[in-house]
Amino acid sequence: MNRNRSRGGQITRRRLLKGAATGAGLAVGSGMVKGFPTVWAQNIKDVKLVQVGGSYSAIIDIGRAASKDLGFQVEMQNADHDALINRVVNEPKTVDIADVEFFSQYYFVGRNILQPIPMSKYKWWDKTVPIFTKGEYPDGRKVSAEGTLPFKVQYLESRDAKTFAKAPTDLLSGIPTVYNADTLGIRPDLIKRPIERWSELLNPEFKGKTAIVAVPSIGIMDAAMAIESRGDVKYGDKGNMTKAEIDKTIGILIDAKKAGQFRAFWSTFDESVNLMASGEVVLQSMWSPAVTAVRSRSIDCYYVPLKEGYRGWGSCVAPMAHLSGLKLDAAIEYLNWYNSGWQGGFIAKQGYYSSVPETAKPFLTANEWDYWYEGKPATEDIKDPYGHLMEKAGRTRDGGSFWQRMGNIACWNTIMDEDRYMVKRWNEFVSA
């Protein structure tokens, strides 16, 4: 197949020359993709891509749908949080597509582990939500940059760059895929009064009935939100605390723990669901699908929008540095497929947003779109991706519409500069 298609324009060529060579892959045409599969060589069907990520996003059904549409094999492998980064860094040959949270990019940048994607090869950048492309909301306001705002780690000057570009370039460190705004989950039937502030996590009224996630980098931020809400500490950047701030935070946590405030610290999704469903806990850090899971058991659980805002997170997918030739072409094809709608529609039913909502829309019914994105009341029952009842007609999504939720992010998941110190002190807290 003739790969020598002309470039789109002078500017693009200049930028391409400036950028590091990405080998033969650069010759693949840009922006001419109409339908799938577009990259077809005799032996494309022998290509196999392995995507490794958390089980909340590297879902086997997505792999199947992709394999069907694209003509080559896409396999999904799940790795838990702790192991994922280790896998990508230490066993890179066993991964083809890395499916990681944005802040993990810090571990990979400049180490020839992932390879950046030229913007020209990715179809959907113009249609991507500006949170990712510009770090702004549509009205021009800047998104909170506490923690690791995906925009901060989105662009690279060159393939070997050791740091991220401060302004948009032509090279993307990863393709944004799913993201969400996290908050506290509650049992409204057991609490019986409105919850409006993060500080309620530390409220002695709920002694012994609260829980925090046990992942240090996330748990400490939930704690910081609660502590700042209560007025104890004013943080410069909750996602990048100073040693003093860390000490104060851990100190307060240890006191709370000794006073019996927390029932548990959960490290698996299951635990968070079980804690809530069984009523052991009435207020806790939680992830959106967990709330869904509890609700689908006909137990009332609410993902409560809080005054101080949400904790945001976002995932991206990127091809590994060792991909080249046909396999790289297939990978780029796959990435384009990923945000072409099927995956977006699938994942929406789990409560996650697609970075390119426009393409996901046709894959959702009008009812579902209104419920998940527009924050309108459901006109019919809402089902989860497997057809089980999740929400009855008439209810609205907790927190409302897309912009009501994603428009109120206080901080983003991250690893802080003082991570080493923080983990040490977190261990002290856990063993207190």
Binding site: T268, G279, K424
Partner: protein, 286 residues
């Protein structure tokens, strides 16, 4: 034609040694080397510094982690020893048919073929505030409020350890006991010893190899564990390895490596103390 006995031994022990050298020896050396490295926020820096060890020894946390780990180990060891000994004794001396013996033995092992993780998760609906156990007790009127401490507590951790590891005590003791010459037992009875004395003065000493080995297994299992503690304590307890795993997850290898080296040394000390009491190898070579 007589091959040198030594050579025969070497040949026999070669495969095991080779595997261990390649898959354990080399990583071990790597770990020791990395433990002297420096590290920044996101990468490790080859160096030769003692900082990691110094931090380890100067930190209060280390002491607490080891204290917790040793506490669990001691309690679990005691409980599994009693249970293991009793069950092994029952199987060896009271069950007559070999088939039944093996059958009962295998029944004990079936739960172990269901993944540890699944079994651990199932403790939650069992011990939780609204779980089977609490509901049962409340239903029987024994208590009125669900028992808080059953789950996400030291109690839960120990129950889980015992549940998961007793088999490792039963098997060596079973094997040791099975080797006891029945003639010796008969002689003791004929000499007028009570059943209790036979147990304490004949069976017990003759099973000490099995007990020693079982103890070694339990110690290494409990001291080396990280996820039972994490899950069953509800994240409220940490032992040496669970703290270590948090560091590995953040790619902070050097301090984790130093921690691992120290752990190996500490447990090796515990194990050699046991081996001093019971020279397992001497029993073999006779």
């Amino acid at each position: 034609m007589k091959i040198n006995q030594q050579t025969v031994s070497w040949l026999q022990v070669a495969p095991l040694t080779l595997v261990l050298l390649v898959f354990f020896g080399i990583p071990m050396v790597l770990v020791a080397v990395v433990s002297f490295f420096d590290y920044g926020r996101l990468q490790i820096i080859p160096a030769f510094i003692f900082d990691n060890y110094l931090e380890l020894f100067q930190s209060n946390l280390t002491l607490r982690l080891y204290a917790t780990a040793i506490k669990y180990t001691a309690i679990v060891w005691a409980i599994t020893l009693v249970i293991g000994f009793t069950v092994a004794y029952f199987l060896v001396f009271h069950v007559r048919s070999l088939t039944v013996k093996i059958g009962l033995f295998l029944i004990c092992t079936v739960p172990f073929w269901t993944s540890n993780i699944i079994r651990m998760i199932s403790w939650i609906p069992f011990l939780g505030l609204h779980g089977v156990f609490n509901s049962g007790l409340i239903g029987l009127g024994i208590i009125h409020q669900p028992l808080f401490f059953l789950l996400f507590s030291d109690f839960a951790v120990i129950v889980a350890y015992v549940h998961l590891n007793t088999l490792f005590m039963i098997v060596p003791i079973f094997n040791s006991m099975a080797r006891i010459d029945p003639g010796v037992i008969e002689a003791a009875y004929d000499a007028g010893a009570s059943r209790w004395r036979v147990i304490t003065e004949v069976v017990l000493p003759l099973s000490k190899t099995g007990i020693a080995l079982g103890s070694i297994f339990i110690i290494t299992l409990v001291m080396g564990d990280f996820f039972v503690v994490k899950i069953m304590s509800g994240g409220q307890s940490a032992t040496v390895v669970s703290a270590l795993s948090t560091e590995i997850a953040s790619l902070q290898y050097p301090p984790a490596a130093a921690s691992a080296v120290v752990l190996v040394l500490v447990v090796a000390l515990m194990v050699s103390a046991i081996l001093r009491l019971v020279d397992v190898r001497r029993e073999l070579t006779g």
